[in-house]
Symmetry: C2
Subunit: 410 residues, 2 copies
């Protein structure tokens, strides 16, 4: 039967990352693709006991719950956010199926087809997917190493009158970059002035490689809240990287009125997220040293990042460049401009290594010679092998480039 799909389906890209993950499953491929935290550090026993406590005798734990989410967990999350400089009341919060759902619901209630959204380049690919699914017009704000450029931001705010600015300003996925404090203040100030909401997506912000206090700038949300009334930053975070992804529990906070609208949208979408997972998280947080755990994984991820960094640097590939990220899960590697990393990928997979080609992280004018490398998931002892395989792939690919180019030079 011929099915006539809605228009939005024409704008539904597939996740390049997930497609790659499917290819790599089951094969002898070392994957530096994927945004997978390290399984070795998942607190399985603690989580298991937490579920056991959550389901100990209370049948109401299995009943339908509130759309906004299990109140005791909201209270814990609100307390953590308040300690992180984002004073939050539970009426300003919704628990969601990961941050992905937070992004989807916010875009759903804000964006009509043709509405403008401002983003960085590069940025989180699945957020671009969501915006495209709502047929938004996505416009890039230029950045430098400190973050979005205020002058260009103002120009874009004026020109496009966007509904929303989406940013991952801390340990950005994919670039690993972090905006400076000053740049954050400027962006918040400009968006307030122009009455534009910011969605700050901060899944990695707690995975810091520098232990010292004040080593990192405050979140946009913290800066925004300290400006007083008329909040312009909507903030989403998640337990996916700091506890484990399968819990599918994140949060979105913002002005109470907006959160009520998001809640209505969520009601229609799935009634509510898993209350069993939410109760289990509550039970976990009551006894588990989450901050200690975060320090532990941060230290390990720091070590893995340094190892990948050293391995890459030691190779001396022509024109290869990268910045060591100060936290998070990803390293953004640029190769010679002669190399198209999308074209390189099949060679890499054949050699037994995977990465994410950089161009998928751009809404427009993609940079073609970059790749996102994840350092959290690969066992350290395999990193030299992985980088070696990448080197082989680059070598093969470059040779083929040369042989196919030669004829055109005659």
């Amino acid at each position: 039967m011929k099915i006539n799909y809605s228009t939005m389906t024409e704008h539904l890209g597939s996740s390049a990352v997930r497609e790659i993950l499917k290819i790599t499953q089951g094969k002898d491929i070392i994957s530096l693709a994927g945004g997978l935290p390290a399984e070795d550090f998942f607190p399985v026993e603690a989580v298991r006991e937490a579920y056991s406590r959550a389901l100990a005798g209370e049948t109401s734990a299995l009943q339908y719950g509130l759309t906004e989410g299990y109140i005791p967990l909201r209270e814990q999350v609100a307390a953590r956010l308040t300690r992180q400089g984002i004073p939050t009341d539970i009426s300003e919060m919704l628990l969601t199926t990961g941050s992905q759902q937070a992004i989807d619901l916010l875009c759903k209630i804000l964006l009509d087809p043709g509405d403008a959204v401002l983003v960085e380049a590069p940025t989180y690919m699945a957020a671009l997917q969501v915006m495209n699914s709502y047929r938004a017009d996505i416009h890039i704000v230029q950045s430098d190493e400190s973050g979005m450029l205020p002058d260009h931001l103002e120009e874009q705010l004026r020109t496009h009158r966007p509904k929303l600015l989406y940013a991952v300003p801390t340990f950005n996925n994919p670039s690993g970059a972090t905006w400076s404090k000053e740049r954050r203040e400027q962006v918040v100030s400009l968006c307030r002035r122009y009455g534009v909401l910011i969605l700050e997506d901060n899944p990695y912000g707690e995975i810091k490689f520098d232990d010292s206090a004040d080593a990192y700038p405050p979140s946009l949300a913290a800066i925004d809240r300290s400006c007083g009334e008329d909040s312009c930053v909507v903030y989403t975070g998640t337990f996916s990287k700091i506890v484990a992804p399968a819990l599918r529990t994140g949060w979105i906070i913002g002005p109470a009125e907006l959160i009520r609208v998001v809640a209505k949208a969520k009601q229609a979408a799935d009634l509510h997220s898993s209350t069993i997972d939410q109760r289990a998280l509550y039970e976990l947080l009551r006894v588990f040293d989450l901050e200690g755990h975060i320090r532990l994984i941060s230290r390990e991820y720091h070590s893995r990042m340094k190892q990948l960094s050293a391995e890459l640097s030691s190779r001396g590939w022509e024109d290869a460049k990268f910045e060591e990220p100060r936290g998070g899960m990803f390293l953004w590697l640029k190769l010679s401009t002669a190399i198209n990393t999308t074209g390189l990928l099949p060679f890499a997979v054949e050699q037994g290594v995977a990465f994410v080609p950089g161009e998928v992280f751009y809404s427009a004018k993609p940079v073609k010679n970059a790749m996102r490398l994840n350092f959290t998931h690969t066992p350290p002892e395999l990193v030299p092998l992985a980088v070696g395989r990448l080197e082989q792939a680059i070598s093969q690919y470059s040779q083929i480039l040369e042989t196919t180019l030669m004829p055109t030079l005659e």
Copy 2:
């Protein structure tokens, strides 16, 4: 800050049921509103052990999973569906956050604003909410006690060229009605002929009050699959009523190509539903006698339905009418046409009883003197009290009707 919401938010009703549930929380109100299964019968210990097994040592249980859902659970669900006459392969299935998400995702990939959808009247309110959120044009197909009327269905198919027909043909929410076998065959046949997809929503179909084999007609999906190729029925079911709602795990099955498109939409919406819940369900189903459990709750619900039915009949309210449902969770009570049940509700709540006014279940031309009564959640010993309170409310309300009407008769 003034927030300009998208157009869809204007079409986002609130769930009347959820709003009522909020009012009734914490007060001494016996709620016959809500679609809550009985907590007493939730298999808490079995579920608790299942989570424990799911998280026993395997860290990968906490990692990101497939959008389509945990394969072993999909296999179990496919096997059950096949036993129920709906031959299913796991490539034709997606696990979702309850059936609510299945409805939302299917509408998202099919409906552009203004696209037509055919429904019964009354029907599941939160499905109407979803369709409205996509700005579909909803048209009613007339029914009688056997289900949709084929002649009117054909007329509506011709006139409106709908994208979708949505139905709850077994123990309908809210009416409790069940379509006859013949009517099901006619509807499937017509939709196949006109190339229109049917979404069969079947959350209650296994809660049967009659134990005998062949007491109930086959699902639309089973009939459709037996017609051979060119499937026109998309089918959604859930563990919410037969195990417990907090697990938020349902399934959608359909033509493989369509399921792939639904999967892409789900990817953008929330990456995937809780894999911990899915693994736990898999572990549960390996050892738990689910069919025995369903027989147990069905017997109890049958008993509760009979009790409510007897209590209502014994009161002899003027012009009150209802049919005993043959399964499921709801009884549809009609009162005298002088009574507007939406107007009656505040009186009922004041007396300490709640129900859902019937008009919320209509996309148009609502019947105003009906109400949906849930019989699964109220402890049996409270039913006479609940019905007594309803009687008081009707009495008060009727008196006020008389006193306010009198002046107009002069």
